[in-house]
């Protein structure tokens, strides 16, 4: 049975749980608790361990969607999940005080997934705050991960179409890189 694990990471309130709900075929398994950090994100509950959703490809094959908790104190979960993941959807909300800085922090933490598979950045709430622009995110990525081209999209985590675009482009990017690497091996 093949396992394809995709992580959804990002700061608290970026829309990870919602994004998984938009994609998952099963009811999302969430481990939420009352949010005691109202300054960071004004919502009732927050994920404390992980969210889980899945998309079945056939009887055996599944794409597993894991949402990792946004708070740094749960970073032990990040390590566990990173080992199994082939790709990362990093969600950042554009109206955060320093969204580029937040993205960079998460890329430093999860950047190894780019080499292992791929990363896509989804910028949420760009309708609330129009800046920074996507080109600013691209510049931020170049600072922390030079020579890595990571797709950045504006998304609404509630929008299934947006989330499909995110997921499909992540997978396609992984496959394209693998195919090109394979070709280069052959010609070397």
């Amino acid at each position: 049975m093949a396992e394809h694990v995709i992580l959804f990471a990002g700061p608290m309130g970026a829309g990870k749980t919602t994004a998984i709900r938009s994609l998952s075929e099963i009811e999302v398994v969430s481990t939420e608790a009352e949010n005691t950090d109202r300054e960071t994100a004004d919502k009732d509950t927050t994920t404390v361990a992980l969210d889980y959703g899945e998309i079945s490809l056939d009887d055996e094959d599944k794409v597993r969607l894991y949402g990792v908790p946004g708070q740094k104190r749960f970073d032990f979960m990040w390590t566990i999940l990173k080992e199994r993941a082939m790709g990362l959807v990093l969600l950042i909300h554009n109206d955060a005080p320093d969204p580029i800085g937040q993205m960079c922090e998460f890329l430093e933490e999860f950047g190894e997934l780019h080499a292992k598979g791929g990363i896509v950045v989804g910028v949420t709430r760009s309708d609330v705050s129009h800046t920074p622009y996507l080109s600013d995110y691209a510049e931020g990525i170049q600072r922390v991960m030079p020579d890595c081209l990571i797709p950045v999209f504006t998304i609404d985590a509630r929008n299934t179409e947006h989330m499909r675009t995110c997921l499909l482009s992540l997978i396609l990017n992984i496959e394209s890189r693998a195919a090109l690497a394979e070709m280069q091996e052959h010609t070397a």
């Binding site: 093949a2 394809h4 998309i55 079945s56 490809l57 056939d58 094959d61 794409v63 082939m86 309708d127 129009h130 622009y133 996507l134 080109s135 691209a138 081209l149 990571i150 797709p151 950045v152 999209f153 504006t154 998304i155 929008n159 179409e161 947006h162 499909r164 675009t165 995110c166 997921l167 499909l168 482009s169 997978i171 396609l172 990017n173 992984i174 496959e175 394209s176 890189r177 693998a178 195919a179 090109l180 690497a181 394979e182 070709m183 280069q184 052959h186 010609t187």
Partner: protein
Amino acid sequence: MVFQAMLKPRKFTVGFADLSPFYQAKIVTLVESLSEDEGFPWIPLGTDGCDLLIASTEARITPLDHQIVARLIDEDDDEAPASLTLRVPVTRLSLIELLNRAEEKLSASGTKTPEARPYLQVKRLPRQDEAGDAAGAATQKKAFTALGGDMVARPPAEGAVPEPARGFAGGADGSKTNWERFEAYDSAPSPSTWRQRLTDGPVPGEGELPQPVGGGQPFPAPSPEMASPAASRSSTGKSGLDAWSEVAMTLYSLMQNNAQAIAEISIAGTETVNIDFRFRAYQSTAAIEWLPSEPMFTSIRTVQAEPHWPPAFALPGKPIDSFLWFVGANAFRGGAAPWLKPEERYRLQRWPNLTDINHTMEDMRMTALLGNTYMNAVELSSASGIKLEAATRLVNAYSLMGLLQVAVQETSPVPIPTAPAKSKSSPGLFSRLFKKLGR
């Protein structure tokens, strides 16, 4: 100089909003005939930054601080008290009455001086060189020729090209019209160079153009400020270019120059797209899906925006990339954009925002390939198994959007897969996922 400026008689400008070309031409002609009298303060201005806007009764207008609006009303319409109106049929007398009242209002309102208020600078006129438009073109050209140096209320920018070199005055002394002056001033390759290249192949002297630097996209040379081609008609046009191609070339020029400009594109005389490059946004009278892929004609006008100007429309507007994608994908009839060169390969320097642009899965597949290696359109088509025309359109569009970096083709090309990409580690996951999720 200050003393002279203080003595200079105040000039007022009149423009139009949502008025039929017939009435525009009629009013412009009358204003021009009146302006032959010394001291007549009114000048027609073909943009919406003027002092007096004459608009149809239906037009919904939010005037700028310095502006007043007059309505063109029908013969039997009631005139609202205290409002400025111009009744049809428009006569010399009724126009003089309106302009006098407007002048009084503007003077009384203590609006900003012309030097201080926002202005729109018409860089280039829509060229209506089709035989059927000859009369209209003559009228319009004459009208814009009337833009004297006095009325261009433009504070000289530091380091700007000296005013006389790009003045818009002319006509009375037999000097060149605006259009001709622009051509004369435009030392950079004009769109006509591209047109010639597109239709006749490389043009003489092309090798003298600066070559692309570093990883940036190629651009023949910076234009003086903005090179704005004029109106173009589709395949029947003299230029041989379709309507979107002309628009694409102007937009490409603006993008490459990082121009802080505002552009107004008229499509087939029915729809209008306004772009404010400062905010990377556009606004359209019709949803982008409803814009014609092969319009009969388009025209584009551009103005250099000053930093203090308000946005050209209510922000946020729509992201500019989605319009550039539309134009790039529909221009050049599936052939390569004229600024692309056969010896070049392209790679994404950043991904497009796929949630903004109307893409297909084929586009996404090609995008992923371009994100990971340098390719030209032929190689991209071969690697993705997608038609060359689709690959060419994608390269055109991404190039217009400024997403590509360029490498001159190596003798020994990078290895390119010749079949649709498949992953070694997880074969066909995309295909299966796509089949599952669909679109």
